[in-house]
Each structure stands twice: as structure tokens, then as C-alpha cells.
Symmetry: C2
Subunit: 346 residues, 2 copies
């Protein structure tokens, strides 16, 4: 265990005091260059490894920044994690990642661990109904909410304008001439889920289209759900000529099922996805999608948080909303005449 060497060991080994060693180790203080060199060398020789617990205890806070997200197996969240990690590292902070699995108990445990570590701040994507205690703990530290926003917690936030994003998708399809547009979306318990469906309706209204409830299906954000939903859509009396999938996982299920039905994209049916993982660009003809600026969001969240940590003056919370972006590829085109479409499906 070489990790057991302390500044005391270095001090006695060199015949100096612990405070001198401390000064040498922790940046530029009143100390002669020569003693510093000596001390640094000796520390190296002994295999000294600082004890951050002692430092934290003394300072009252650590240089850890917590990132709490519901899942990591998801291109957007993974990108955010990387960007936050990089931004933190560049500013002398260390990101620690927690995966809450959208489970409120685990979420609380994660936030509690963060609070116990006396972390400098946290970037969080909270679940649908966080424990009161979760909110209380977060209220006592600098926080930035990312991707989702709950008004139960007053803090800065960085979210996507999903309403606008989905509305753009609908507009794009409407402009191509689609009138029967299907929607496969996530649960409406999350702010993101709600916004996406609201955006869908808004998009329809904006284009003078009427919503057909049979064409709108929401459920858990899983490929298996999307497969079922798409089957239902395609088997219905009067199926849609285009489908908007409101999440990556759902996009996968929709594409898979459309394939299974032998439908060609975009000739037989137009498909539009949400967010832009690497593989969407090369799937079949290339999938048209709404991309969201996850990298910018991650970087901004970290900057914002670090600014909050360092600024003592507590200004008002600011909510930044990023606008998604339509990326037109080749999975959307004008609708096939309806009788021929039904024929193709039958």
C-alpha cells in the first residue's frame, strides 16, 4: 500500500515541518524554490498520493460535480456525459456520473451520495416525481437541470424545445402533402413526453390539419412498444402515410416494423425520427430526423454550473431552451396516392 504515505512521512523523512510540505504540495505559497523541489522529489520517491478526503474535510467542499441521468444507453445522454466530463476536467472539476434508472429511490440515493460528498454542484435530469427529500437536498447546492425541467426545483435549466422540434417534423410532412400523419411517442408523465405530443398537435393545427386520435399512440420509450404501436397503425382501417417517431428507441421500432410489413421507405411511407444518432444517417435511404444540440447543451450545462459555483452572487434562475433542427434526408417524400398505398399495404 504505497497510498499510505502522508505529508507527515515526507516531512520527517526530510527533517522539515508538515506545513512546509503542505505549502510545497499545494501550489505557490511563500516557499523557496529549492525546498519545494526537494519536497516534490521526495514525495515522488515515496509514492505519495494526496488524500482528497482530508482536503474536502478541511475545505468543506470537494471539486466533484455530479451528473445524475436516468440512463446512459442512449446516444443523447452519452454525448452529454462526455461533454460534461470534458468541460469539467478543463476547469479543474471532476465529473462523477450516477445513473438513476428513473427510479425515484435510486435517484434520491444518488443525490444523497452527492450531498454527502459535499460536491461542488450537480447537473441533473430528474424523474417524473422526485422525492421531496431529493428536491430539498438539491436546493442546498448549485444545480443545473438538463433535458427535463421540473418547477419543483428552482434552478437554472437547459432544455430542448421539443414542441418546436416535433412541430417542425409535422410541418415538413404537411408541406410534402401528407394529411394522415401518425405519431409514436413516449409516456406523457415526463415533461419531454408531454411537450412532444403538444408539439405534434400544434404542428397539425399550424398546417390546418385535424388530429385523428387513432393515429396517435404513446407509451413506454422502448423499441418493443414502438413495434406494437406501428403494427397497430399500419393495420388500422385508415393507416397514416407518414409516421413521426418521437425518440430514438421508438424510431428503431418503427423502422423495423415498417420493414417487416414490406413497406419501402420513403416510397410507401415517410418516416421521421427524433434526435440524430450516428446510424440514422446510413439507415436505408438515410432517415430524415429532428436533431437536438446535445453537445452544446452538455457544454453549456457545465459552464453554467461552474459559473454558479464560482459566482457568490445568486442571480435569478435562467431557463435556456435550445431549438432543434430538421435534417432532411431521404426517408420522407410526397405521399403515394392513397388507394395505391392501401393496396401496397393489403
Amino acid at each position: 500500500m504505497s497510498g499510505r504515505v502522508t505529508i507527515k512521512d515526507i516531512a520527517s523523512s526530510l527533517g522539515v515541518s508538515v506545513s512546509t510540505v503542505g505549502r510545497a504540495l499545494s501550489g505557490q505559497d511563500r516557499i523557496s524554490a529549492r525546498t519545494r523541489r526537494q519536497i516534490l522529489d521526495e514525495a515522488d520517491r515515496l509514492g505519495y498520493v494526496a488524500n482528497s478526503a482530508a482536503r474536502v474535510m478541511r475545505a468543506g467542499h470537494s471539486n466533484l460535480i455530479g451528473l445524475v441521468i436516468p440512463e446512459i444507453e442512449n446516444d443523447a445522454n452519452a454525448a452529454i456525459a462526455r461533454c460534461v466530463a470534458e468541460s469539467c476536467a478543463a476547469r479543474g472539476y471532476q465529473m462523477v456520473l450516477f445513473i438513476s434508472s428513473d427510479d425515484r429511490d435510486r435517484e434520491l440515493a444518488n443525490i444523497r451520495a452527492l450531498a454527502e460528498m459535499r460536491c461542488a454542484g450537480a447537473i441533473v435530469t430528474l424523474g417524473p416525481s422526485p422525492h421531496r427529500e431529493t428536491i430539498r437536498l438539491l436546493s442546498s447546492m448549485p444545480v443545473v437541470q438538463i433535458m427535463r425541467h421540473t418547477s419543483k426545483l428552482i434552478s437554472d435549466s437547459i432544455t430542448m424545445d421539443d414542441r418546436n422540434g416535433i412541430a417542425q417534423a409535422v410541418r415538413h410532412l404537411a408541406e410534402l402533402g401528407h394529411k394522415r400523419i401518425g405519431f409514436v411517442g413516449g409516456s406523457d408523465k415526463l415533461s419531454t413526453g408531454v411537450n412532444r405530443i403538444v408539439g405534434f398537435d400544434a404542428g397539425l393545427v399550424g398546417e390546418g390539419l385535424v388530429r385523428d386520435d387513432a393515429l396517435v399512440i404513446t407509451g413506454p420509450v422502448r423499441a418493443s412498444f414502438a413495434r406494437k404501436a406501428t403494427e397497430q397503425l399500419l393495420n388500422s382501417e385508415n393507416p397514416p402515410t407518414a409516421i413521426v417517431a418521437a425518440a430514438v428507441r421508438l424510431t428503431i421500432g418503427v423502422l423495423e416494423t415498417v420493414n417487416k410489413f414490406g413497406l419501402k421507405v420513403p416510397d410507401d411511407i415517410s418516416i421521421i425520427g427524433y434526435t440524430d444518432p450516428l446510424w440514422l444517417r446510413g439507415w436505408g435511404p438515410g432517415i430524415t430526423t429532428i436533431s437536438i444540440p446535445v453537445h452544446e447543451a452538455g457544454i453549456a450545462a457545465a459552464s453554467l454550473l461552474i459559473q454558479r459555483i464560482q459566482d457568490k452572487g445568486k442571480k435569478r434562475a435562467v431557463a435556456s431552451v435550445y431549438t432543434p433542427n430538421l435534417i432532411v434526408r431521404n426517408s420522407t417524400t410526397v405521399p403515394r396516392p392513397h388507394d395505391r398505398f392501401l393496396n401496397r399495404l393489403g
Copy 2:
């Protein structure tokens, strides 16, 4: 800052000693149920949040388990992260994730942070040439290497038998009748990269096929590289009738390019991927691939590490190697007669 309440505050507020409070807070010790209740309630009322730094300092080690991986934007690593996080949480440990970006300096910084936190242990995927200091630090803590293995560090390890995996892919194609099999692989600086190409050669030999160097291209594990490599393959004098892509990112690039050339999978060309992300199953006809047991690996790594942490007796390091699994879907079939294939390409 409600986080500033200490056991001392609770003690004085209740007129008991700090050790009584300590006992009440930290599990079952000699203490009356009534005082415990009182103390717990008071702690709650005051908004007490334990100070893990103080605990770590006292204990000499934390309950943190570090996971250091080169990247997280990758289905396999993301799955590992989740599984490790869950396994740790279930056993009372807390995972902290670091992303090294395959940069040896960052990797060292990550490991150093872990050492300074006095973490209980670490699960690591090291880069191609770690700093000597990285190895030194890791040598002083319980470690499990995952996915990649370097013999510079003596520790338990959990890796995939990539040789076998790729060889299975080759065998599958050879059995279908393919003789000209292309290979798009990652850099040969990593143990994984090397093993995959060795497996390719072994697979060819096992099937009595000869390697054509023009058909084997390796480079950075990026879709852009795979696109270029595939173009080169398809434009060559005598192109392959099947391609093995030795990583997800490469699979994406290969599929995209094959598409771009107007080739149909599997009629015009057979494609086989490596690892099994969600979207591969529904891509076009469904992509045949070699799946690797990442969930098992993540869970095993965590169990193994925790066992090492708790067992004082240091047994010999054990290297577990997991065998990949061929999943046959519809991107592989018998080769099209070669003249007609060239025709189709031309």
C-alpha cells in the same frame, strides 16, 4: 446551507454526546431504541447530511468503485456502465465513472483522482500505452480489467474472445460459400484490434481460404474510416462478396457505403457486424452479427472486484474470457455468381 449540520449540532440540540449520536446514526450498536428514534428524528428535523469525507478519512478508504473507460458513446460500454452501477449499488458501493477518451494523460488523471479518493477498487479499460505511474497507482488497489487486457498490470480481467468471435463470422460466411471476404477493422494498437484481425486470419485458415491483403483494411474505429475503407474495397479490381466489420462504428460506415453503391444486402453482398446494438436487428433485412455478452461481463467485473475487496487473502489473478455468439439474421446469404456481382457493381 442545511448541509452544514453536524452530529455535534444534533448532540447539543438534544443534550446527548456526539458518540451517542454517532452510534444512533451508524447502524446497530449498544443504544436504546428510544434514544435512537429521538436522534434520528432530530437529525431529520435539522436536515443533517453525513459528511463522507470525514468518514473516509477515519476509515482510510471509501465505498467508491471507479469505472474508467475510454468512451461512453458506444452501446457496449454504456451497457457495462449500467450493469456495474447496478451491481455496485446492490452491494452497498457507489460507482463513479471516468471517461479517459483513450488519452493517457487523462487516464492517469482519472486513476489519480480515484487513488486520492481512496476508492475501494477500480474496473478499468486501459488505453494502448498507459503511463508507468498509472500502472503503479493501480497496483496498489483492487482492480479488474475489462474488455481490454494489458499484462503490464497484474490483475483479474474479463475480456471477450474476439479472435473466436471474428473467426465465427468468417466460418459462417465460408460455409455460405464466400471465398473473397473483406475485413474492416480497428487499429492494431489495442489488444481488441489485434485479436480481431488474428481471428480473421485464423478463420480463413480454418476454412482453407487464403488471405488477400487487398481485402483487409484497418484504421481508426470511426464510421468515416469505414466508409473510406468500404469504398476502397468495392472499387477494387476484385471486390469481396462479403464484408466483416469488426466494430459497431465500422458496421455503420460499411452499411452506409454499401447502400450508397446501390448494393442490396444480402443479395448483392453479405455483411456481418460486431456486437449487437439495438438498431442492428431492424436495419434493412436485419443484420447478422457477432454478439458479445456485455451485461454478463459488467456484472461479473463488479462481483469479482467486490469479492477481491472483501477477501483479504490475495489469490492469483484470474483471466476470464467470454465467448461471443453468432446471431444469424438476414444480411448474409450465398454469394451471387461473381460475374453477375461485378456487373451489379460496375
